[in-house]
Amino acid sequence: MSYSSAELMIVNAARLLRDRDVVFVGVGQPNLACNLARRTHAPNLVMIYEAGVIGARPARLPLSIGDPTLVSGAASVCSMYDIFTLYLQRGNVDVGFLGGAQIDRFGNINATVIGDYSQPKVRLPGSGGAMEIAAWANRCYIMTPHQKRRFPEKVDFCTSAGFLSGRAERQAAGVRGGGPQAVVTNLGIMEPDETGELVLTHIHPGVQVEQVQENTGWPLKVAEDLCVTQPPTDEELRILREELDPRGVYLR
């Protein structure tokens, strides 16, 4: 079955989740990845949302981070202060999903501004929950299309910490979380090496390494044991298209 870039990313992100993970979910593609995982290999995945929803079981595709379908039938709903303290800062969150306009060589993310902060060329939405998710979730995953402008060597503004200038700097900062574990794109998957630098570890079927390099803003290291990902299965695609996003809002 053929599939879109979005479907490819969602399926690969879903496969990174483990059963019983507590996931801080964003709307859109991360939400689909989590729901797909829950319907396949991770039935006990717990989805929590920055709006204060724990154990959501959305009956329809949520259209915003605070969609009422996340509440009806959820296990618990609390205040935003509680979700960021009792859950995230306290260390109860296994996985966070992040995205942004720029991701750099060490997995740092910019969702704030292109150009100078006080006189922005492009003013982006800002951190939202991302600054703390990146710091305190045990593992973070980044989903983003693979384009050169999205992968500069260094972000203009560091909204969310990856490994900063390398693992040592992150470690010295004394943050709880393990940092970004994987960047899932439409071309492949990058993972940090022992220094914290993102290295190409997987390519999707039919993708060439050169193609990934061309779309990355720094000389990209390639893992010695570079793998090719398994293509999305018919069942994964069926769940996405028929059950989770029948109108294809986030799948195209």
Partner: protein, 300 residues
């Protein structure tokens, strides 16, 4: 003591030029009707504080009410960017003060709790901390480590939409709670808008559900469909079509002004706005009932 009044009166009495306003609600219970009333009354130089400015603050910015925004995520939720706010900021015509969600909500929590400041664990990145001088560091006396702190946020007025309230201002809220309680307690004045005004007996049948107590409330306004185009859990759904439409409207300043003329200046109050929305839109936003299982408090 009844504090029931019209939203027009409440805004007249409690919202003044130059005030810091917190129109609360994280995607839920957004008091759009109050934002529109502030626009109609021509308030100026407001400081608009809100984790997510959403369409409500963009409309107020477009109408010229605001001098500054305090925020943590500026987007059209689920759709894209807020074109006008973004353009105003890029053009240097709108001041801003920026936090992460946690920083923003922590400031409110400190304001609500009467804390002198509030500490947070470090996040490793210092760019936002460097960009906003209200972020400070203190030394943890137990570990010697640096700790990030923020000062309390104390808005002049909080506007809190709720599902049901009594005339005194005791209010039940359910669904996403966002920062409703913290904003109300942090503010000097509180305006409550409610989908329903109910008897005190209903409120007092379930005191654990009362997030806002009357003793901090200044005005109670009965405003059905206050949150449209956003939603109120159990009352109506989000009008997603409008959120998509707004993205197109705001592509042009003229179009935006035309929309304000028609839907804000062109109506007297929310009741007229709702009438103008019409029965088809309202029908589209209805939701089937799903009731909570009751609990027994006991007649002690």
């Amino acid at each position: 003591m009844s504090k029931l009044c019209s939203l027009t009166e409440a805004i007249q009495q409690y919202v003044h030029d130059g005030d810091t306003i917190y129109a609360a609600g994280f995607t839920h219970l957004i008091p759009f009707a109050a934002g529109h009333e502030i626009i109609r009354q021509g308030r100026r130089d407001l400081v608009l504080a809100r984790a997510t400015p959403d369409l409500i603050y963009e409309q107020m910015v477009a109408a010229g009410c605001a001098r500054k925004v305090i925020f943590s995520y500026m987007g059209n939720p689920g759709v894209g960017s807020l074109r006008i706010m973004r353009a105003e900021m890029e053009a240097g015509r709108l001041e801003w003060e920026e936090y992460s969600h946690f920083g923003m909500i922590s400031r409110l929590q400190a304001g609500a709790a009467g804390l002198p400041f509030i500490p947070m664990q470090p996040t490793a990145t210092r760019d936002l901390e460097n960009a906003n001088p209200l972020y400070r560091r203190v030394t943890d006396p137990y570990t010697g480590q640096d700790v990030i702190v923020l000062p309390p946020l104390r808005p002049d007025v909080a506007i809190i939409h709720v599902q049901r309230a009594d005339v005194n201002g005791n209010a039940h809220i359910w669904g996403i709670l966002g920062e409703q309680k913290e904003a109300a307690f942090a503010a000097e004045h509180v305006i409550v808008t409610a989908e329903e005004i109910v008897s005190e007996d209903i409120i007092r049948s379930d005191p654990n559900r009362t997030m806002i107590p009357d003793l901090i409330v200044d005005a109670v306004c009965h405003v059905p469909y206050c949150s449209h185009p956003s939603y109120t859990q159990g009352y109506y759904d989000r009008d997603n079509e409008f959120y998509l439409q707004w993205d197109k409207i705001t592509a042009s300043r003229e179009e935006t002004q035309r929309w304000l003329e028609e839907w804000v200046y062109g109506v007297k109050d929310r009741a007229e706005y709702v009438e103008k929305l019409g029965p088809e839109t309202l029908a589209r936003l209805q939701v089937p009932e799903r009731l909570s299982a009751p609990v027994n408090y006991g007649a002690y």
